[in-house]
């Protein structure tokens, strides 16, 4: 049992004790602030690149909260998950930017409202 989680335990050697709630709170506050900024940016701006950047901001906010919680609980899950999120975000960024470029070519505009006719 111990052998199986040896590497995880090695990683936790650097953090022998749980992070207290009072230390955790600022992390979460920053994370929430980042998420809200991203969300507000996404809802209010029409430039697709800015909107895309806002989604990235929300991503990182979630990632920050995950890492903070991981440190708080002395678990490796949060960090592992964030590594995944980063990978996927990287791939998604490539795709999303390519999409934006294509959309721009069609309408000569970066505004999301240029595609308003894609309605039901």
């Amino acid at each position: 049992m111990m052998h199986a989680f040896e590497s995880i335990q090695l990683a936790q050697l650097a953090f022998p004790t749980e992070m207290s709630t009072s230390v955790l709170a600022p992390y979460l506050f920053v994370s929430a602030a980042m998420f809200c900024i991203g969300l507000v940016g996404f809802l209010t701006r029409k430039n697709m690149i800015i909107m895309f950047l806002c989604t990235e901001l929300m991503f990182q906010a979630a990632g920050l909260a995950l890492i903070a919680f991981g440190r708080h609980h002395l678990g490796a899950d949060g960090q592992t998950f964030v590594i995944f999120v980063l990978c996927i975000a990287a791939a998604e960024a490539a795709m999303a930017l390519a999409l934006v470029v294509l959309l721009f070519r069609h309408r000569e505009s970066l505004s999301a409202s240029a595609w308003k006719e894609l309605n039901g």
Binding site: K46, A112, S113, G120
Partner: protein, 748 residues
């Protein structure tokens, strides 16, 4: 009730002579048992008869595909059919009196438990088979020769198509006649139906031909259903569809003995129904009332087809069916009386219609229906010999009549109206047609002594008069014979005698109508006409061969097959006829009151009655339709093609001639009673299908659309809108989770 009482009369002599009551120690089924006791195996060359015509079909299909534009298809077909005929002839000559089977290949060979279902591609040869095959292959060869000239307007694909269907027809007919089981018969039955359909619809660009082809096919479906069910019931009841096994079946022999003893209650109704069902099939194929309506319309096909399929061979398949399964018909209480009366009604009805028609080919068509009625009457009167003899003579003279009419049609650009033709015999090159037509007409009319049609018809008429209770049928048939003579010679006097006059028809066999010139028939048509006329006359000799023992050569052929049973009845009949049959003297003679006709024995009386009747019919025709002078036997007064004494009579007779010309509105009646209701029902079903079923299906397509219509506005196309709903949804979810957690915390 009437049929039942008449059946008792029909079988009364049989009952009197049944074993036990008359001292005869041999049961009536003994002949059948003897016939099927030793069924041998025949030589393989018999297969040539069946497969050579099929080869013709294959060759002609290849010619058609390779775009042949010569008379090669005709010569190939004629050569193959001629070889098939020679093979049939040698089959006849080498036949030693024992039926045999020839196996081609396994078809159905199923065994399950104790039971089995065997129906191989095999052929059963007895004298009935040989009789039928002789005239089928012989006439097919002759008519193919005729068609080689007749169809020459269509050389090319049409010519190939015609002869390939022709070959396929002869193959199917051979399967029908020679098959050794009921399934082979059914295969051939459907095959000839298909070829009939294809050839009636040969001029497929002509709507009336297409309609006639469909009509023939659909009306035959009704009959074929009966045949299929009959075969099914035979298998269910007797456990076999093979002739050899069926006719040597012990149960069947018991039934026959019971039937001859008059004890029909000993025969299960299931067995009695077999014949009733097979009978429906025969009525369809042989154009009997009420299923006869397709045959007159079938004249839309080329004339060689009318002659071969719709006069000489295919339409006699029903007669063959009943003759072949005669043992099954004997054990049915009602089948044979129904066959006899349906045949009589058909004969009379068709003759009345034939009298009023103006299209010479249609007149011949109705006379075919009428003559088939005679054959059925013969079958129903226990005279398979009479029926088969009439089939044979009729095959010759009716083919001859059709081909002569066809020659006229061919020469005058499709003209068939007897009001528009006159004196054809006297035109240059038409002499042979005129003379052969006269011979055909004489045979159909049944002029006494000098025609074969007289002898065969006489056999059936005499049978009606000697069978107690059937005298009325005899007189109806005699009356029909007079009408037959009248309408036959009506055609002859009007079209072939008198002043020369011809209006071209509207032509539909491919010739250029603008450039009409009547052309006399060539050597092929003339040769065939002469041959058939000779055959019609030579058939008289058949009545005299084996006369004392079997009532003629055909009788000897039928007697050696399952179509006949050497019943004491036959013997007593011979005694009633006063013929010097030693068996009649030695055997039991229980038939006390032989029918007398005008105080003479039946045959003698028949010669007087039907002979004089025929002559009377001819004289009436001469009076009303004959031209002035010797050509009208000094009775006629016609000077123009379209005016004769009959016109005045027809005018005075009110609407009746018009009704007869319109075929007594039977087609209209069928349209009203069957076709229109079916059409209405089909429309109702169409709308049910459209509204109910399609509606249901469409409803399932429509529901999602309605739902979508409700939800669709949410897809606004504004990206921020989607984001708001996503964020809002997330917030609500979060709120719910928080509430749940708080509640749980509160409870704890």
């Amino acid at each position: 009730m009437m049929t039942a009482s008449l059946l008792n009369n029909l079988l009364a002599p049989l009952a009197m002579l049944a074993p036990g009551s008359s001292g005869s120690d041999e049961p009536a089924s003994a002949h059948l048992a003897h016939m099927t006791e030793h069924v041998g195996t025949g030589p393989k060359w018999i297969l040539l008869i069946v497969f050579l015509p099929l080869l013709g079909f294959v060759f002609n299909a290849i010619y058609a595909a390779s775009g042949n534009k010569s008379k090669l298809p005709a010569w190939t077909t004629i050569a193959l059919l001629a070889v098939a005929f020679l093979a049939t002839l040698s089959m006849f000559l080498s036949y030693d009196g024992t039926p045999y089977t020839v196996h081609a290949f396994d078809w159905f060979n199923l065994h399950y438990g104790e039971k089995s279902f065997v129906a191989n591609f095999s052929f059963y040869i007895d004298k009935l088979t040989i009789l039928w095959m002789l005239f089928v292959t012989g006439l097919a060869t002759l008519i193919a020769l005729y068609a080689s000239e007749y169809m020459s307007h269509d050389i090319g694909t049409g010519y190939c198509r015609f002869f390939s269907a022709f070959g396929l027809f002869v193959f199917s007919m051979s399967c029908l006649v020679m098959g050794d089981n009921m399934l082979m018969l059914y295969l051939g039955w459907e095959g000839v139906g298909l070829c009939s359909y294809l050839l009636i619809g040969y001029f497929y660009k002509k709507p009336s031909a297409v309609a006639a082809a469909k009509k023939a096919f659909i009306v035959n479906r009704i009959g074929d259903l009966g045949l299929a069910l009959g075969i099914y019931l035979t298998f269910v009841h007797f456990g076999t569809v093979e002739y050899a096994a069926l006719f040597s079946n012990e149960t069947l022999h018991h039934y026959i003995d019971a039937a001859v003893a008059g004890d029909f209650s000993a025969i299960p109704s299931e067995a009695q129904w077999i014949a009733m069902l097979l009978m429906v099939g025969a009525f369809g194929k042989s154009a009997q009332f009420p299923l006869y309506v397709w045959l007159p319309d079938a004249m839309e096909g080329p004339t060689p087809v009318s002659a071969l399929i719709h006069a000489a061979t295919m339409v006699t398949a029903g007669v063959y069916l009943i003759a072949r399964f005669y043992p099954l018909f004997l054990v049915s209480e009602n089948a044979l009386p129904i066959v006899a009366w349906i045949g009589t009604i058909t004969a009379l009805l068709a003759a009345t219609i034939g009298m009023a028609q103006f299209d010479i080919k249609r007149i011949m068509a109705y006379s075919t229906v009428s003559q088939l009625g005679y054959m059925f009457a013969g079958l129903g009167l226990l005279s398979t010999t009479g029926a088969a003899f009439h089939v044979l003579t009729h095959a010759f003279f009716k083919a001859l009549l059709f081909l002569a009419c066809g020659a006229v049609m061919h020469g005058f650009a499709g003209q068939l109206d007897l009001r528009k033709l006159s004196g054809v015999s006297w035109m240059k090159g038409w002499g042979i047609v005129g003379i052969t037509m006269l011979i055909g007409c004489m045979n159909l009319a049944g002029l006494p002594y000098i025609t074969s049609g007289f002898y065969s018809k006489d056999m059936i008429l005499a049978e009606a008069f000697v069978t107690p209770g059937y005298r009325l049928m005899g007189w109806v048939l005699v009356f029909t014979a007079i009408m037959t003579a009248y309408y036959t010679f009506r055609v002859f006097f009007r079209v072939f005698l008198g002043d020369q006059h011809a209006e071209p028809g509207e032509d539909f066999h491919g010739d250029d109508t603008n450039d009409f010139h009547p052309h006399a028939p060539g050597w092929a048509i003339n040769t065939v006409l002469i041959t058939l006329a000779a055959c019609s006359m030579l058939a008289i000799a058949l009545a005299w061969i084996d006369k004392s023992a079997y009532h003629g050569w055909v009788g000897s052929m039928v007697a050696d097959s399952t179509a006949s049973f050497h019943s004491p009845y036959a013997v007593s009949l011979a005694a009633a006829h006063g013929e010097g049959n030693p068996a009649a003297v030695a055997g039991p003679v229980g038939y006390g009151a032989p029918g007398k006709v005008l105080g003479m024995d039946p045959h003698g009386g028949m010669i007087v009655v039907s002979g004089l009747g025929a002559i009377f019919g001819v004289l009436v025709a001469a009076f009303f339709h004959g031209p002035k002078g010797w050509q009208g036997l000094f009775l006629g007064g016609r000077t123009q093609a379209d005016k004769c004494r009959m016109d005045a009579i027809a005018k005075r007779a009110g609407p009746i001639p018009r009704w007869a010309e319109n075929k007594w509105f039977v087609d209209e009646f069928y349209a009203m009673v069957f076709v229109t209701p079916l059409r209405v029902v089909s429309h109702i079903f169409h709308w049910i299908d459209k509204l109910l079923l399609d509606g249901l299906v469409n409803l399932f397509g429509f529901l999602p659309r309605v739902l979508a219509w409700i939800i669709r506005p949410s897809q606004s196309g504004v990206l921020q809108g989607y984001a708001v709903s996503m964020a809002g949804g997330l917030a609500v979810l979060l709120l719910v989770v928080i509430v749940i957690v708080l509640r749980a915390g509160g409870a704890a």
